[in-house]
């Protein structure tokens, strides 16, 4: 059978492919397959529970959930309960890794390294004040617990929560260190029904 140069070349290529694949298979056979990564440092969720008065159950919960960190799956924002005008809320921030089973509470890591972490709040609209309440060993704010005050008139509000990692350099300034978390909660502050 006569072959044209193209057929010849393609046959040659097939042979070379085959031999290289065989060689590669041999090579790779002795090599272990990689394991899926256990993403230890992932934070999937920022949750702010807003407490009012002496209640043990939050009157409202703001949650930001991003299942894949830097990946392309869009984050979800949810709100449970209403936020009312003219109230001073005690806000408790929790960081979770919900990819782990059971869900990992990353807040503990931050609490343990509170001298290296700072949570800053930037507010607009119907939240008139949002400031850290807790302090670290050096009497510098941490921000895991904060006080949020709402205005007396209803309206839209945003609170930007930024978690800064400032190992060995924490001064209370939010302009230094790396941003580990930056989430903006947008919600409405409404009139409490009588």
């Amino acid at each position: 059978m006569k072959m044209n140069p193209v057929q010849n070349l393609s046959r040659m290529m097939n042979w070379s492919k085959l031999s290289v694949v065989a060689f590669a298979a041999l090579l790779i056979a002795c090599d272990d397959d990689p394991e899926a990564v256990n993403e230890e440092e992932l934070i999937t969720t920022v949750q702010v529970d807003l407490f009012f008065g002496d209640s043990d159950t939050p009157s409202a919960t703001l949650k930001f959930y991003d299942e894949d960190g830097d990946g392309s799956i869009a984050p979800e924002f949810t709100q449970e309960g209403e936020i009312y005008t003219g109230v001073e809320y005690l806000a408790v921030t929790t960081f979770l890794n919900e990819e782990e089973t059971p869900v990992e509470d990353v807040t503990a890591e931050i609490e343990e390294e509170q001298n290296d972490h700072l949570i800053c709040f930037t507010r607009t609209g119907a939240v008139t004040s949002a400031v850290a309440f807790d302090e670290d060993d050096n009497e510098i704010p941490v921000g895991l617990v904060s006080i949020w005050e709402t205005s007396n008139t209803p309206g839209a509000a945003t609170v930007k929560l930024t978690l800064k990692h400032q190992p060995g350099i924490k001064t209370g300034s939010c302009d230094i260190g790396e941003t580990d978390i930056e989430v903006t909660f947008s919600f409405d502050v409404i009139q409490q029904p009588l």
Binding site: A24, I28, E41, D70, G71, E109, H165, E182
Partner: protein, 790 residues
């Protein structure tokens, strides 16, 4: 592989030799009792030639015990023919007389076979390297016109040749293709420049000889040939620079074994430095450490050469603390403040973030001269590259790397070279096997590039023909590559997509010798490059610029195994040069155009909201690109003792599809140096030189978008930069030095001051320009003592 190596070793040890042609012919060319560099020395019988070096010295090796006729030619001097009997009793001294009658024609022959005649290459020789001791490889290479560097701070320099870098540039380290982690812009070549006697850059596409990685050019790092040893000897080089308080030391020794056919060499170097500083502040955490060593053993007889070589490169390099951007807000703050947010007093400490790199090479090569002027050569190389990048992490994880990769590669090359009067050629086979593994168990972070296995083989043929004043050369190459990635879908299900690439490259060139002083050459090369694993599979966040990068196989942010998503990159580069050389003046001008189809580059795709804030997503895309430019180098000696050197380069990079300038192209650069050999201190070779480097502002840039403006809005569909290109700047450097002969050997002392005026500036090609100024005034002292016995 192991068995192959065994056979090869057995073969090479079993070889016998017949004649003893181990003699050298050494000499010195003088004119008016002064050393005359640049003369051509030609042995008629062997058809080989040498050019006298700076001190007028030359030497031929591998000659037999008999009488040779040599001819010495130099433009403007009378040609001399002389008979020399070997072995020599003393070094031959030849005095040339000025030719008052006419300018005769000089024939230069004996181009090295593997090297192209029509490509443009420039080299940093021993003397130039001596004055660059202590600098990283990539920084030293910037002294060559047309070669720039993509920088990440003061210690990480990635070479850029005619606008191309990373996997488009090949580094040949002692004859072996360097297989490191060159895909990252913040990854510098893992090579200790102290091993080099010469560093050469071939600026044309040399894909035919070296494969697809040489599309943008080749950097050849050559240690002195191990067989050149004349007996026990060595060199000690030390340097200290005030900016960063960096000390370096390198010690090299060599000698012959009792059996005279064997020679050996050992070398070690170390570097210890702290924080650099700008004219105004400390660049905190930019210190570095290096410990490198290498050794070689060579055997030679009249018709074969065998060499073993190993080297180990170990570095730890701090990354500017403030250049670690958590997200777009952090990056924006850095750009606005114009000053790093973290500035501490000088320190030698290296904290996170930093890189820890090890690169180990083992090489063995065997060359045998066959009948006629033919030879065969086989090279085997084993390289282990470990790259760890340490980040700032939570909960005591900072002592665990965030990136940890090991690349194991093996290279086996075989070539046949033939040399005749009118033509010469080279044929060969090159093979590479690579295994890359990520240690994710330690990092606990998804890797930027997946584990992969790669097997590649290439066959090439090159021929060169001389006819009258013309030299014509042509070559072709066929390559095959198998690539298998081991990656995960949703970080859960392991998949092993694999690819077969078959690609061709070719080149042709012509050199025309116009007259004894000038020549013209033109070279056109066609090369093909399959995408690198990083260009296909990259996925993750780069903290230096707060950007997420995604490969060609992630068109929508998730992995799609579809071969239609990418094409091979195809380049056609046309390079023309004109060179003129006379006694006092040399000049070379080159003009090039490189048209690249399916050029792979990063383009902004979207602004992504994550729990860490906003990030721009840059996706690898393919386009048609044009890189064209010109380089000019000249050397002019006047008033006997003054030499003016100029190196000027211009590059135009354009995305032809989008009709936009390409990002990160070196701006036009003017490097001028005036060197004065102080005549009254002639015996000490004392010199004084001033160098003015002017770098213009890059005006051909993409649009600028402030990081903060990207938050919450979609990214533009054109390339952009986060900051305007920095202003033009001029740096003044001065240097002085002299050579003190001690016991027939040379002690060289040089003193230099870089950025004498303490100029504040930022370099467009430095990725830390978003965060900080470049370094300020720097005093450097270098002391070298060489006690070589040849």
């Amino acid at each position: 592989m192991k068995r192959l190596l065994t056979i090869f070793l057995l073969l090479s040890f079993g070889l016998a030799y017949s004649q003893s042609c181990l003699y050298s012919l050494k000499g010195r060319i003088l004119a008016e009792n002064k050393a005359l560099p640049g003369a051509t020395i030609f042995i008629k019988d062997t058809n080989s030639s040498r050019i006298a070096d700076e001190q007028g010295n030359f030497s031929f090796d591998n000659l037999c015990a008999r009488t040779y006729e040599i001819e010495i030619r130099f433009l403007g001097y009378e040609t001399i023919t002389k008979k020399v009997s070997l072995p020599q009793n003393e070094v031959l001294e030849i005095e040339l007389l000025e030719d008052k009658t006419q300018l005769s024609e000089v024939v230069v022959t004996g181009n090295s076979i593997a090297r192209s005649t029509t490509q443009i290459s420039s080299a940093l020789e021993e003397e130039a390297l001596q004055q660059l001791h202590g600098k990283p490889l990539g920084e030293s290479l910037q002294r060559i016109a047309g070669v720039g560097a993509l920088q990440t701070g003061p210690a990480i320099f990635k070479p850029v040749i005619h606008g191309l870098h990373s996997q488009r540039i090949l580094i040949l380290n002692n004859g072996i293709r360097q297989e490191g982690q060159q895909w990252g812009t913040e990854h510098a070549p893992e090579i200790d420049p102290f091993v080099a006697k010469q560093i050469e850059v071939i600026k044309g596409a040399e894909a035919v000889r070296y494969g697809a990685d040489a599309m943008g050019g080749v950097i050849i790092v050559s240690p002195p040939p191990i067989h050149d040893t004349g007996g026990f000897g060595g060199a000690i080089n030390t340097s200290y620079q005030s900016n960063s308080k960096t000390s370096t030391v390198s010690i090299a020794t060599e000698g012959l074994l009792a059996a005279k056919n064997w020679s050996w060499r050992m070398q070690a170097s170390g570097k210890y430095g702290g924080d650099y500083h700008t004219p105004d502040y400390t660049l905190s955490n930019t210190g570095q450490r290096e410990v490198n060593f290498s050794g070689g053993l060579g055997y030679r007889n009249s018709n074969s050469e065998l060499e073993f070589y190993f080297s180990s490169f170990n570095a730890r390099i701090g990354i500017l603390r403030a250049a670690h951007a958590g997200n777009l807000t952090d990056l924006n703050n850095s750009i606005i403040s114009q000053k790093p947010w973290y500035i501490k007093d000088f320190s030698f400490d290296i904290e996170n973030p930093y890189q820890a790199i090890n690169h180990h090479l083992f090489k063995t090569s065997y060359k045998k001269n066959l009948s006629g002027n033919n030879s065969i050569k086989a090279i085997y190389g084993l390289q282990i590259n470990n790259r760890k990048e340490f980040d700032i992490r939570r909960a005591n994880r900072s002592d665990r790397p965030a990136i940890s990769m090991q690349l194991l590669s093996q290279v086996f090359d075989f070539s046949f070279d033939h040399l005749a009067d009118s033509h010469q050629g080279s044929y060969g086979l090159t093979t590479t096997i690579k295994i890359n593994n990520n240690d994710t168990e330690t990092t606990g972070i998804q890797p930027l590039i997946p584990d992969y296995r790669q097997v590649a083989a290439g066959l090439f043929a090159l021929e060169k023909i001389k006819w009258r004043a013309f030299t014509f050369e042509a070559g072709a190459r066929a390559d095959y590559q198998y690539l298998q990635a081991l990656t995960f879908i949703n970080n859960d299900e392991l998949i092993k997509p694999d690819y077969h690439f078959f690609y061709l490259s070719a080149n042709a060139g012509l050199r025309y010798t116009i007259n004894s002083q000038s020549n013209l050459s033109s070279n056109i090369s066609f090369s093909n490059r399959p995408p690198h694993i990083s260009e296909l599979f990259s996925q993750g966040l780069h903290h230096g610029t707060a950007t997420i990068e995604e490969g060609l196989l992630l068109p929508n942010g998730t992995l799609e195994i579809d071969e239609s998503l990418f094409k091979n990159e195809r380049s056609i580069k046309w390079l023309n040069s004109f060179a003129k050389q006379s006694k006092n003046f040399s000049f070379e001008a080159s003009v090039y155009a490189n048209l690249i189809d399916n050029y792979i580059f990063l383009q902004p795709k979207e602004t992504r909201l994550t729990i860490r804030g906003y990030f721009p997503v840059f996706a690898y895309k393919q386009t048609q690109a044009l890189l064209t430019g010109a380089d000019i180098t000249f050397n002019y000696t006047f008033l006997k003792d003054f030499t003016l050197t100029g190196k000027y380069s211009y590059l135009y990079g354009q995305d032809l599809t989008a009709q936009q300038p390409l990002i990160y192209m070196p701006p036009p650069q003017f490097d001028t140096e005036l060197n004065w050999l102080i005549p009254t201190l002639n015996q000490y070779k004392a010199f004084l030189k001033a160098r003015v480097l002017h770098v213009t502002q890059q005006v051909r840039t993409p649009i600028t978008i402030n990081p903060i403006d990207l938050e919450g809005s979609p990214a533009p569909n054109e390339t952009f930069d986060f900051m305007d290109a920095p202003n033009a700047y001029t740096l003044l450097n001065i240097e002085t030095g002299f050579t003190l002969p001690i016991n027939e050997h040379d002690l060289i002392l040089t003193l230099a001051c870089e950025n004498l005026t303490n100029q504040r500036y930022r370099n467009y090609m430095n990725r830390l320009r978003y965060f900080a100024d470049d370094i300020g005034r720097n005093f450097i002292i270098r002391l070298s003592y060489n006690f070589y016995s040849h």
